[in-house]
């Protein structure tokens, strides 16, 4: 096996991993602020992917153009979901929140199955087969653009949390819930805003991902698990951690596919998760609380 092949596989793994990372970033932001684990995260991702395939098939929209309308729709969807369904569960025990989101996930997966059927949907654009070559390493155009979209979105989110008033207010909520209430922040609204932003991450990741894989309804639960693995590895609630975790998982999946068997790739991710939980339960970049 040549070094060149391995290098190509690693690069592809990094690029896919950045898209995974953006998806996981949504989960991480939601957990970090609202303290609710979104068990319907991967299912939301497949909704975004289906939305992109529909827009592509009906209007011929490029998936990267789809990002804008899908992200706007997802923001309102996430906002509404938090306001109506999840907010009453904030103070309830974890298993209760878990059940709520499992029910949401069940409705989404099977709703998609009802509408689109079990067969895979895909998007075909002409640049999917093209690539750039840099020093013997081939970069798939679609994969590179997908990774760039993911990085740009993550950077935008980062800037939002650092520089805007709303972003700072959300971070204040995450740091000290009671304190945020005392200084008069509208915590409920900020939570809904956070959920909306988490959904935007999912929307962008979904539109980008549709260029890399075919979408079927059962992909949802698989992505939920993947997102958990990534955020635990990176650190639940840490934004750079989610991206780092995504890249690590992307690379480990790619290498497992190359050296062992593609079907065993999940074992490496879960193995990594178990090791992290045992030796650094706060995750690679997480803070202990």
């Amino acid at each position: 096996m040549s070094v060149e092949l391995a290098a190509n596989v690693v690069v592809a793994g990094v690029l896919t991993g950045l898209v995974y990372g953006l998806m996981a970033l949504g989960l991480s932001v939601i957990f970090g602020v609202v303290r609710v684990v979104n068990f319907a995260h991967g299912e939301m991702m497949t909704v975004a992917m289906y939305a992109a395939t529909v827009l592509f098939a009906s209007l011929g929209m490029d998936p990267f153009v789809c990002i804008l309308p899908v992200a706007v729709a997802f923001f309102f969807f996430g906002y509404a979901l938090q306001r109506t369904l999840i907010n009453p569960f904030i103070a309830r025990p974890e298993h209760s929140q878990f059940m709520l989101l499992v029910a949401v996930a069940l409705i989404i997966v099977n709703g998609l199955l009802m509408i689109f059927g079990p067969s895979a949907r895909t998007v075909q654009v002409d640049y999917q087969l093209e690539s750039f070559e840099i020093g013997g390493i081939l970069l798939d155009k679609a994969r590179l653009y997908a990774a760039l979209a993911a990085v740009a979105t993550a950077a935008g989110l980062f800037a939002f949390f650092r520089t805007t008033r709303a972003g700072k207010a959300i971070r204040a909520c995450a740091d000290n819930h009671l304190g945020a209430l005392v200084v008069g922040l509208d915590v409920k609204k900020l939570y809904a805003l956070t959920f909306g932003l988490g959904a935007v991450c999912v929307a962008v990741a979904g539109c980008a991902m549709v260029l890399l894989v075919d979408v079927t309804p059962p992909l949802g639960p698989a992505y939920t698990l993947l997102a958990f693995v990534i955020v635990i590895v990176g650190g639940l609630g840490s934004m750079p951690g989610a991206l780092l975790g995504g890249v690590l998982i992307g690379v480990s999946e790619a290498l497992a596919g190359l050296f062992v068997a593609p079907s065993a790739k999940g074992m490496f991710s879960f193995g990594l998760l178990i090791l992290i939980l045992l030796f650094r339960p706060q995750g690679l970049l997480g803070r202990r609380n």
Partner: protein, 320 residues
């Protein structure tokens, strides 16, 4: 006789007499209810009693099922031998998960995710274990089903129904004793406030490990039953996270931490799922997925409006 034990005796009598009135279909539904009631009871020991949320109980069902089925398939050993291997392996795995989690102070959401990780890890491992059939599945020979062959646990549906009924009763008795034992009180203290329990001198590590051991041993028995009732095992199905969720829906809907919640929850959910299937068939709406959508909506409603499950309010009404 107290009101509770009298009601229980009536319910038991009805269930024992049930097969004489019911057809094969109703019997299979009832067996399924009892299966979920029993498995839910097992999960409830860990979550409902000791407060440790496991989202990976399919791990114990799967390992238990494969242990007994493997012995039967390769060496012709019946489930009575396989049962002990299943229990041994499941308790060992449960203790490993528990040891690693509790030693390293992992709890809450993180513990739940660790249990998922172990179940998924094992699922993929079994996919690559050719000795037990791998992804293609392990199939037990379906023997003649008219006579009761207890040593090999082969027989008519009636036999499986009574076996499951006996297990359910046993589990109910064991759990009610446990809940009123020293361990039960310690568990409840840990569930309500682990730090306070520790401050009172309770060795929380040891008691949590005991809860995991009992829960995984009980679940192992479900696995053995599953293997010999369904006769085919696929890692993709038996270890899947949706199986783990299925197991815990009953106790959560019925009422976590209660003795009767898992039983009522299993009955309500199984009948609901069947009722939805029949209702949709009658309406002629047979689109794949529609049933689960309805199921999800009902779950959503129950969890929103009855946060403690459906059993506690009923128990109050019936003064049990």
């Amino acid at each position: 006789m107290t009101r509770t034990s009298a009601s229980l005796a009536i319910l038991g009598a009805v269930l024992v007499a049930f097969p004489f009135f019911a057809g094969n279909y109703a019997l299979s539904v009832a067996t399924l209810i009892l299966y979920f009631a029993y498995t839910g009871q097992a999960w409830n020991v860990m979550m409902g009693f000791a407060g440790q949320l496991s989202l990976g109980h399919a791990l114990y069902v799967g390992v238990g099922a494969y242990a007994a089925a493997g012995l039967f398939f390769h060496y012709g050993l019946g489930p009575w031998a396989g049962l002990w291997l299943a229990i041994f392996l499941c308790v060992a795995m449960g203790l490993v998960v528990g040891f690693l989690a509790f030693r390293f102070g992992i709890s809450g959401v993180y513990f739940a995710l660790l249990t998922i990780a172990f179940a998924e890890f094992t699922r993929i491992g079994f996919d690559h274990l050719d000795w037990l059939g791998g992804p293609g599945g392990l199939f037990l020979k379906v023997a003649q089903r008219d006579s009761w062959d207890l040593p090999n646990f082969r027989g008519p549906p009636l036999m499986y129904y009574y076996a499951m009924l006996a297990l359910c009763l046993l589990a109910l008795l064991v759990c009610s004793r446990l809940l009123r034992s020293k361990a039960g009180y310690y568990w409840q203290a840990i569930r309500e406030n682990e730090e306070a329990a520790q401050a009172l001198g309770i060795n929380t590590f040891r008691w949590k490990m005991l809860a995991v051991a009992i829960s995984s041993a009980m679940t192992a028995v479900s696995g053995v039953f599953f293997a010999f009732y369904y006769n085919n095992l696929f890692p993709e199905q038996i270890f899947h996270i949706s199986r783990s969720i299925e197991i815990i829906l009953g106790p959560i809907i019925g009422g976590i931490g209660t003795l009767f919640g898992p039983i009522l929850g299993a009955a309500v959910l199984t009948l609901l799922s069947d009722g939805i299937t029949d209702g949709l068939a009658a309406l002629g709406w047979e689109i794949p997925g529609i049933k689960q959508v309805f199921y999800g909506v009902v779950l959503l409603a129950v969890i929103m409006f009855l946060p403690n499950g459906i059993w506690p309010p009923i128990a109050r009404k019936l003064k049990l």
